[in-house]
Symmetry: C2
Subunit: 682 residues, 2 copies
């Protein structure tokens, strides 16, 4: 059963950090360079009479009937009341997440804001925008109460604690951990705000007086809400990791460490700036309202965006700015086949980060095989940059997962460059990458094989007898194999068009012609495989792989975002292809082919492995590029995808790969599904 | 059933690091600032024909019959053979641990060496002695083999890997992790030594060629042993954690970081120095042989010593040297009631570290209550130093675990100071601590209460209504309560004698007299509680707690180690007390009182919670201070204690607190049981 109490992560920008909250019966808490969502018990609640009323965000809160409680300080037997799902109302926004239950409301914010070109020094508010902290507002309403109650916020498994009051004096309140995270608090309307350390919130109230038992695992705050009063506690949740945090080929530190001295300063800055942070969050909610998206799409979008920033790292290497997005739980850095999907979100909020990563790929993570240039799958993993020209993922001799993605990453560089250049008008950058662009064109054509039909035929020599794969590495051959794959063909078609538009901007007419004519040939040969009787394309253009896939349409989004929308118009030069793709989608987007029984998208007819990020992308293409109007199919699909996230994968924020609506892992997080931002494009 | 395949940790000195190996069916591996033993799969073995022969130090090795294996590169079906316990012979030494099975032998060394006064610059070989690495020798004997075989060493769950060959060129071989540990290797007699990265050792041999899949979790090495040949691979296992690693009141870095640049340099130094490291280990084994201890006591001693150094941290704070011993799994720093037990071991190998810690206590972790000076339980936990005069453990209002240990820590400072001063003859230091010593005497006497009977009566005002406890914090009142406890009385008696001997050295006659006469009064009143009919002391000198405890004898060890052995002689001044204690032990050291059914020591008649470190201490006192000859009881006890460690607690190296031979936790480690070094005292 779907639930409103699913896990979500709330993050600042570029700190590889977040705070997870929302999953009933389990904790969440502070993530910092974490591959998984942590399991810290989060105690948010109040004690009224002899009962602790709490949001159910700690382990065992759902079924717990603790009968072993001691008495409280008045000799009453303590009772626990974890609010049930029915008692909690959640308001899940783009930059906020608010829980209300009983007398309390708790609202977390996360950052979603434009970040102008930091690399070129064009962002005036860089210090404020990269603050590695978020804020939260915790209200306890005792206005109709007849006696004082006590509010509390506590975080379990918080090792190596220090209290802000002990470092900075009694006007500061908060707890920090040796592991680089912590929280600070300011109170209005509450009395006796105090720091505590104990084993859990139950122990706190079993004692005569609250204690600071530093060895105990929970750090927290307590406050009194007078009868007839209402307390508003503003919290800053922050992170700080100083020094060099990456190893291998590149030694980087977090940019924020150049602006903030340490975690207590970060927390102080966040509390000082809290009103503007709340305002930013509010504006984001207004924006979301204005999009006119369905309520389900709004939720899908919000969860995607929240799951992206936790993986972002805004770094410095010497004087160079480095933007890195970790591959969620897998911690590969700047995975290129994710970058191409993050592209649309990044071009909305900080397009320069795309350029930054593209430059980084050229500088350190390009290589040449027998066909010419391409780019690595990633730049390393687990904070270790791999040696030049090598990824942490690709190895030889394989025909599936962990083989090379040479063709696809080549397309990805071309497509991302074109979208960036069009979005920003940064032709100067294109000019500086002229050589790379011509190398890319040659490399594309060499991979086409001896008979130039625009369809990739040549596996990279790096495979050493193996075969290239695609980003769909864990799918069957319908999407896993790169050679003569219709999905790759679509991306090659788009890559030639993208090269054409870039060469045009650079007035490199000869190259433009080469690129455009390659696109023509590619289109023609894609169409040659169209089965006009069955009204569908096969997955593989090899005469054998006849199963249907949805992502054959992926490629056609790029002309729209790189200034050639007419190329993918039904009435344009490539109208035949567009019409065939429309027909294909009409044919395959039916239950039993490319829809699951619940109406969710099945990217490949022959695999139960379906990817949310790519589904969102394809939904946009169907609706806004192919201009197909299928509200019933889409509404049903949206509902299914939301239920995958909140039923099959309730503990995995932003999880992408899902098998028929389910996932067995717990605590995964993944940044890729921000393709949902496309739904808000005009 | 007891096993030879129990967990053990092998460590350098002062790096808070170790390598765990020896537990069948589970891994172990690299510990660095770890509260628990990690669970890295360790693959040590060779492939002969189509079978992988391996030591069983990886998960599920005991029962695994992997029938899902793919073919190897020759098309043969791979087989797994994890050596069974019967097939493995283990030689468990003081500084070595050697496993032999099939064609392989694998021998790990750990450091046990004297470390002269680093604080005063008296250790000429400090760089070599604090090298944060150990070495291992891995032999594969194919002399009677008819075909080449492949040897391998691999470590699972090794995140963020780099290869030494990629950083330093092809003459280096090894793998390091972003988490600050790794290994290097040099080979003799082997061919094609190469680095690998893969998911596990099975994957390695399923591939056409070995790969370096950086994303995969296992890092390792492979080598070929030619038919008729024998390969000897020397491994360095090292750790490195740069920068400031403690927070709170004191910011410290590891001293070794001033001598070694990074982990690759550490590994290179270890390999360069390996012959002398193996020689040191060999000399330690000769020493062990020469002790004449029973084989069981040898094993108990070896396991104790191995479990100590992993908790040691040799640090610098600015220009100051800091010696810190973490409390094993609990990570409290310089827990004082452990220091007093580590004392004998430290005075053997590096007495100056005792002085270093005592000074540190005076400087930052002493405090004054209504009675005068005492010292905190610890200096903080989880690498965070607590504020001045406060520990991470003690809180008010309690009568058991986490209450204050004011009286006992006061005794501990006095006793450790006396033993240090006697061991080193460092009267200059005593002189510098003259003021502290007089404060200690006053504080001792004030805690005695209004009627001075030498028995502690006054709980610290810090308890704020609660009661002081003893180091036996988790025991029942027989040992848990400090006030009028016979164990504390014994330590107070010893503390007065220790003060007396120190004041004598300082020619402070008036104070010597005060101290000695307090010892006289204490002895007299202890004797007053002796039940000469039942021939035993009660645990509590309050007329109520009549149960028997063994540790009432603990105190009398200190005169022996602080230059007053005659004070605890049966014929000496306090002969009556000594004779009563002998009779007490004779009475209570029987099954049903202070022996478990299996013959193991039961420290308190009324609790199943017994502590190995204290048992070893008491065994020494019984045999060498009380001169009681009870070989049958001792042999049976030794066998029981060894079976507690290798049956009830097989995965917890050096674990101290054990409940009737068992412990439910897994992966604990604990430094305290080095009291076993006393058995080797003349």
């Amino acid at each position: 059963m779907s639930t409103d109490l699913f896990q979500a992560i709330h993050s600042p920008i570029g700190a590889n950090a977040g705070f997870a909250l929302g999953l009933a019966g389990l904790g969440g808490g502070f993530c910092l360079q974490s591959d998984r969502i942590p399991g810290q018990d989060i105690f948010i609640g109040y004690k009224e009479e002899n009962t602790l009323y709490m949001l159910p965000f700690y382990e065992k809160s759902i079924s717990s009937e603790k009968d072993t409680f001691a008495k409280d300080e008045n000799g009453s037997s303590l009772q626990e009341h974890a609010f049930t799902e029915a008692e909690v109302s959640r308001s899940f926004g783009l930059a906020t997440d608010t829980f209300q239950a009983g007398r309390l409301s708790f609202s977390l914010m996360n950052r979603v804001t434009e970040l102008s070109d930091v690399e070129r020094g064009e962002e005036p508010d860089v210090k404020a925008k990269i603050l590695p902290a978020i804020v939260a507002r915790f209200c306890v309403d005792n206005r109709d109460g007849r006696q004082d109650i006590q509010g509390f916020f506590g975080v379990g498994n918080m090792k190596g604690k220090q209290f802000l009051s002990q470092i900075y004096g009694e006007d500061r309140c908060g707890v920090i951990s040796k592991d680089g995270y912590g929280f600070g608090a300011v109170a209005e309307g509450a009395a006796e705000l105090q720091e505590i350390a104990d084993f859990d919130m139950f122990h706190v109230f079993e004692r005569k007086q609250p204690v600071r038992l530093m060895l105990a695992s929970m750090g927290g705050i307590l406050f009194r809400v007078p009868a007839g009063g209402r307390a508003e506690i503003d919290l800053a949740l922050g992170w700080y990791l100083g020094g060099t945090v990456t190893q291998g080929l590149h030694s980087c530190h977090y940019l924020y460490t150049e602006y903030y001295e340490d975690l207590p300063h970060v927390l102080a800055a966040a509390l000082a700036d809290r009103e503007s942070l709340f305002k930013e969050a509010e504006e984001n909610e207004h924006y979301l309202e204005g999009t006119g998206l369905s309520s389900v799409r709004k939720k899908l979008l919000c969860q995607s965006v929240k799951s992206y920033y936790i993986s972002s790292m805004l770094m410095k290497e010497g004087e160079k700015i480095r933007w890195i997005v970790n591959e969620g739980t897998f911690l590969m850095m700047n995975t290129f086949d994710l970058l191409i999907d993050h592209l649309f979100f990044e071009c909305r909020y900080h397009p320069w980060t795309v350029r930054n990563a593209l430059d980084f790929f050229v500088e350190s993570y390009s290589y040449k095989d027998q066909c010419g240039i391409s780019f690595t799958h990633d730049m390393g993993s687990h904070y270790v940059f791999t040696p030049e020209g090598h990824s942490s993922y690709e190895i030889p001799h394989l025909t599936d997962c962990f083989s090379y993605m040479t063709q696809e990453q080549l397309c990805n560089w071309i497509l991302a460059a074109a979208v960036y250049a069009h979005r920003t008008g940064d032709t100067a950058w294109l000019l500086s990458r002229k050589e790379t662009l011509t190398e890319c064109l040659h490399s594309m054509k060499n991979r086409d094989g001896q008979i130039p039909d625009g369809i990739m035929d040549v596996d990279s020599s790096r495979c050493d007898g193996g075969s290239e794969i695609t980003t769909y590495d864990s799918l069957d051959v319908s999407l896993g194999q790169a050679r003569r794959n219709s999905y790759i063909a679509g991306k090659c078609f788009a890559s030639y068009l993208a090269l054409g538009s870039m060469f045009e901007k650079l007035s490199m007419e000869k190259y433009r012609e080469m690129a455009d004519s390659a696109a023509d040939i590619c289109e023609e040969n894609m169409l040659a495989y169209y089965d006009s009787e069955k009204k569908r394309f096969p997955a593989l253009f090899d005469g054998e792989g006849t199963m249907a896939i949805v992502p054959i349409i992926e490629g056609i989004i790029y002309p729209v975002f790189s200034g050639r929308p007419e190329a993918v118009s039904e009435d344009g030069k490539y109208g035949r292809l567009i019409r065939a793709l429309k027909e294909h989608i009409q044919t395959v987007l039916v239950p039993g082919i490319c829809l699951f029984e619940d109406g969710g998208f099945k990217l490949s007819e022959t695999s139960d492995n379906s990817w949310i990020s790519k589904i969102f992308l394809c939904q946009y293409i169907i609706e806004k590029v192919l201009h197909m109007n299928m509200p019933e199919i889409m509404d049903r699909a949206d509902a299914a995808h939301w239920s995958w996230w909140t039923e099959g994968c309730v503990s995995d924020p932003g999880i992408d790969q899902i098998f028929a609506g389910k996932q067995t892992e717990r605590g995964f997080h993944y940044p890729r599904c921000v393709t949902s931002i496309l739904w808000t494009e005009e």
